[in-house]
C-alpha cells in the first residue's frame, strides 16, 4: 500500500443469510484506489458490484455480512461501529444512488436535505449551511438556486434530482465518492451531462470516485482504471485504455463484443455471451465464469484462478484466469 492509497480492499466478501442457506454476493475482492483516482466497476446485474459499495457504507441489508478488509486511509471500515462509521460516511465518504426519483426525502425541502450533512458533520448553523447548499446547487447548475433550495423534490426533474444528489454528496468535499449506477435511471440525453458534471466537480475537490455501472461507454468516458466483476469476483482489472484495446480475460472480451460500436454499425449482430448470468448461490470451487466460458479447460471448474498481476500484458493489469500466463512466455 503506497502512501497515497486512499482505499484498499483485501479479500472483501459480502454474504447474505437466506432461509435456505447462504448466498455469496461478493467473493473475495482485492482492489486499490489512489486519492483522486476514478475507478470503474463494471459487471452484469447480480455480479455484486453494488454490494461492494453498500458494504463500505454500512448499508447492507439486515441479513448481509461483510468480511475481509476495507481500509480507508488505513482504517478498516468493516470493523467500525455504526457511530464511528457515521463520522466518516456523509463527510469523507459520500454516495450517490441509482434512482434519484426515490432517493430524496419527498417531505423535506431540497435545501434542508443538502444542508443537513454540513450541520451534523461540520457544526455549521442552519443558515450558514443553507447558504452553502445554495452555493452548491448553483455549482451543479440548478437555475435560480436560492429559490430552488426551498422547493420539494417532486418539483424537480429526474436529472435535476440527481444533480441535487451530487451537490449533497460533494458538499463536504469528501475524499471518496461512491456512485452506484448514477445515470441508469436518467433520460439518455442527459446521462453524459450529469456524469461529466459529477466528474468535473470531483476533480475540483480532489475526490476519488468508484463508479459502478454496466455501461462500458460511461467507463470509457470517465474512468482511469476499470475492474470487471463477475460472480462476485474481479475477473480483470486494468487501465481503461488497455482494457478496451487489449482485453485479456475471456469474460472481458465477451463483454466488449456485446457492446455496440459506431464503426461496426453495419455488423448484423452484436456478440452475446452464452448462458445466463450467475446470481447468488453458494461458494464456487473454480472460476464463476467457467460454465459460460467458450475457452474453458478442465482446471477452470476445479481450481479457483488466482487474481494476479500480469504486467507483461502491458500497463498495470491484474486478472483471474487459468488461460492467461502468469509471466511472459
Amino acid at each position: 500500500m503506497t502512501a497515497e492509497t486512499l482505499l484498499s480492499l483485501r479479500g472483501l466478501t459480502v454474504r447474505f443469510r437466506l432461509p435456505h442457506g447462504e448466498t455469496v454476493a461478493v467473493d473475495g475482492i482485492d482492489l486499490d484506489l489512489a486519492a483522486g483516482e476514478v475507478l470503474g466497476i463494471v459487471g452484469e446485474s447480480g455480479s455484486g458490484k453494488s454490494q461492494v459499495l453498500y458494504s463500505l457504507m454500512g448499508l447492507l441489508a439486515a441479513n448481509g455480512r461483510a468480511g475481509g478488509q476495507a481500509l480507508f486511509e488505513g482504517v478498516d471500515l468493516l470493523s467500525l461501529s455504526r457511530r464511528q462509521l457515521d463520522t466518516l460516511r456523509g463527510q469523507h465518504i459520500s454516495m450517490i444512488f441509482q434512482d434519484p426519483m426515490t432517493s430524496l426525502n419527498p417531505y423535506r425541502r431540497v435545501g434542508d436535505q443538502i444542508a443537513e450533512g454540513l450541520i451534523v458533520h461540520e457544526g455549521l448553523s442552519r443558515s450558514a449551511a443553507q447558504a452553502e447548499a445554495v452555493r452548491m446547487l448553483d455549482r451543479v447548475r440548478i437555475p435560480d438556486a436560492s429559490n430552488r433550495a426551498r422547493r420539494f423534490p417532486h418539483e424537480f426533474s429526474g436529472g435535476m434530482r440527481q444533480r441535487v444528489m451530487i451537490a449533497m454528496a460533494l458538499l463536504t468535499r469528501p475524499k471518496l465518492l461512491l456512485a452506484d449506477e448514477p445515470t441508469t435511471a436518467l433520460d439518455v440525453t442527459i446521462q453524459a451531462q450529469v456524469l461529466d458534471l459529477m466528474a468535473e466537480l470531483a476533480r475540483e475537490t480532489g475526490t476519488a470516485i468508484i463508479l459502478v455501472t454496466h455501461d462500458l461507454g460511461v467507463v470509457a468516458r470517465l474512468c482511469g482504471r476499470v475492474a470487471v466483476l463477475y460472480g462476485g469476483r474481479v475477473m480483470e482489472e486494468a487501465g481503461a485504455q488497455a482494457l478496451f484495446s487489449t482485453p485479456a480475460h475471456p469474460y472481458t472480451r465477451g463483454l466488449l463484443d456485446a457492446m455496440p460500436r459506431l464503426e461496426q454499425a453495419l455488423t448484423p449482430r452484436l456478440g452475446t455471451i452464452p448462458g445466463t448470468p450467475r446470481s447468488g448461490g453458494g461458494d464456487v470451487i473454480g472460476c464463476p465464469f467457467a460454465p459460460r466460458c467458450t475457452e474453458r479447460i478442465a482446471r477452470c471448474t476445479t481450481e479457483r484462478p488466482a487474481f494476479l498481476e500480469r504486467s507483461h500484458l502491458g500497463g498495470t493489469r491484474s486478472a483471474a484466469c487459468h488461460l492467461i500466463p502468469e509471466v511472459a512466455e
Binding site: L88, T102, H154
Partner: protein, 307 residues
C-alpha cells in the same frame, strides 16, 4: 388553504344532509314508533300524543319540519325523555364522553406510536415482542372483559381507584380512559410498526443513513414523517368515534355520557334523539377527516397542490 377548507366544509355539509335524510326515512321505515308500546292506551290518547309530536303529519311534512328546525339549530324535543330537548340531552352527556374520549385518543396515540416505533427499531427484540403481546391482548379481549377485570384489581382489591361514577376527579377518569384506549393502543402500535418497517426500506431513508447523520436524526427527520401518514389517516375517523362515547365504557363505569343514548334512542324509536346523535357523529367524522387531510398536506407537500 382557506379555499380548501371552505370547499371541504361545503362538501361536508352536503354529505351530512344526505346522511340525515337517509337516516330520517330509513328510521321511519322500520316497524314501530316512539309510542307503540305493549301497554294498552286508548286510541284517542295515542292520537293526541302523536299529534303533539307531529307524527300524524305526512312524512314529507315531518321531514320539512325537521329540516326547518335544523336550520334554526333546533333538534326538537325528545320523545322518550319528556321535557328535555335533544339539544339538552347532548349538551349534558357530551362533555363526559368528550373528556374521556379525548384523553383516550391522546393516550392511545402516544403509547401506540411509541410502541410501534420501538418495535420497528428493534425488530424481534424484547420490546417488539412485548408490544406485540399487548397488541394481541388489546385487540382480542373485549372491553367488557378488560373493564371489569381492571375494576376488580384496581378498585375492589387495591382500592386505588373508584369502581365507577364521576365523583372522584381525575381518579374517576383513569380506568375508563385506559380501557377505552387499550384496543386503540393495540391497533395503532401494529399500524405504526408496519408503516415504520416499510418506510425504513425507502431509498430516501437509505440516503439519510448514508449521510452519517446518526440514528436519532434519521428517525426524527426522515423516517417518522412518512411512517406516520397512515397512522394519522386512522386517527382522524377513530377520534370522531371515540369522543362520541362508548356504551360499553359508560355502562361498565356508570358514566353519564352520550354513548348509551346512541343505542337507547334507536331501541326506543326516539326519532329526534336519533337524528341529533347521527348528526353529531356525522359532523365530527367529517370535521376530523378535514383535520386529517390538513395534517397530511402539512406533512406531504405533494398533496398541497392537488387540492
Amino acid at each position: 388553504m382557506l379555499r380548501f377548507v371552505g370547499k371541504r366544509l361545503w362538501n361536508g355539509s352536503l354529505t351530512l344532509f344526505a346522511l340525515v335524510t337517509l337516516t330520517f326515512f330509513v328510521m321511519r321505515l322500520a316497524p314501530g314508533g316512539p309510542f307503540s308500546r305493549n301497554r294498552k292506551i286508548s286510541p284517542e290518547v295515542q292520537a293526541n300524543i302523536e299529534a303533539a309530536f307531529h307524527l300524524d303529519e305526512p312524512i314529507w311534512q315531518q321531514f320539512g319540519r325537521f329540516v326547518w328546525g335544523l336550520l334554526h339549530l333546533d333538534l326538537g324535543p325528545s320523545t322518550r325523555f319528556r321535557d328535555y330537548s335533544v339539544g339538552d340531552i347532548i349538551a349534558s352527556g357530551l362533555p363526559y364522553s368528550l373528556t374521556i374520549g379525548a384523553w383516550a385518543v391522546l393516550l392511545a396515540a402516544f403509547v401506540g406510536i411509541a410502541l410501534g416505533i420501538a418495535g420497528a427499531m428493534r425488530r424481534n427484540g424484547f420490546t417488539d415482542y412485548a408490544a406485540g403481546t399487548v397488541g394481541v391482548i388489546g385487540i382480542a379481549i373485549p372491553i367488557f372483559v378488560i373493564g371489569p377485570v381492571l375494576q376488580v384489581i384496581f378498585a375492589v382489591k387495591l382500592q386505588w381507584l373508584p369502581v365507577g361514577s364521576w365523583n372522584d376527579g381525575w381518579r374517576s377518569l383513569v380506568l375508563p380512559v385506559v380501557v377505552l384506549a387499550l384496543p386503540n393502543i393495540a391497533y395503532i402500535s401494529r399500524l405504526t410498526r408496519a408503516s415504520m418497517i416499510e418506510t425504513m426500506r425507502e431509498n430516501y431513508v437509505r440516503t439519510a443513513v448514508a449521510k452519517g447523520i446518526g440514528p436519532t436524526r434519521t428517525l426524527m427527520g426522515h423516517t417518522l414523517e412518512g411512517a406516520l401518514i397512515p397512522v394519522i389517516a386512522y386517527l382522524g375517523p377513530a377520534t370522531a368515534a371515540i369522543i362520541t362515547g362508548s356504551i360499553l365504557i359508560e355502562t361498565i363505569f356508570a358514566l353519564p355520557g352520550i354513548g348509551r343514548h346512541f343505542v337507547d334512542a334507536a331501541l326506543n324509536r326516539d326519532y329526534p334523539l336519533v337524528m341529533g346523535i347521527t348528526l353529531l357523529y356525522g359532523a365530527l367524522l367529517i370535521l376530523f377527516n378535514i383535520v386529517t387531510d390538513l395534517i397530511r398536506a402539512w406533512i406531504d407537500p405533494r398533496l398541497r397542490n392537488a387540492h
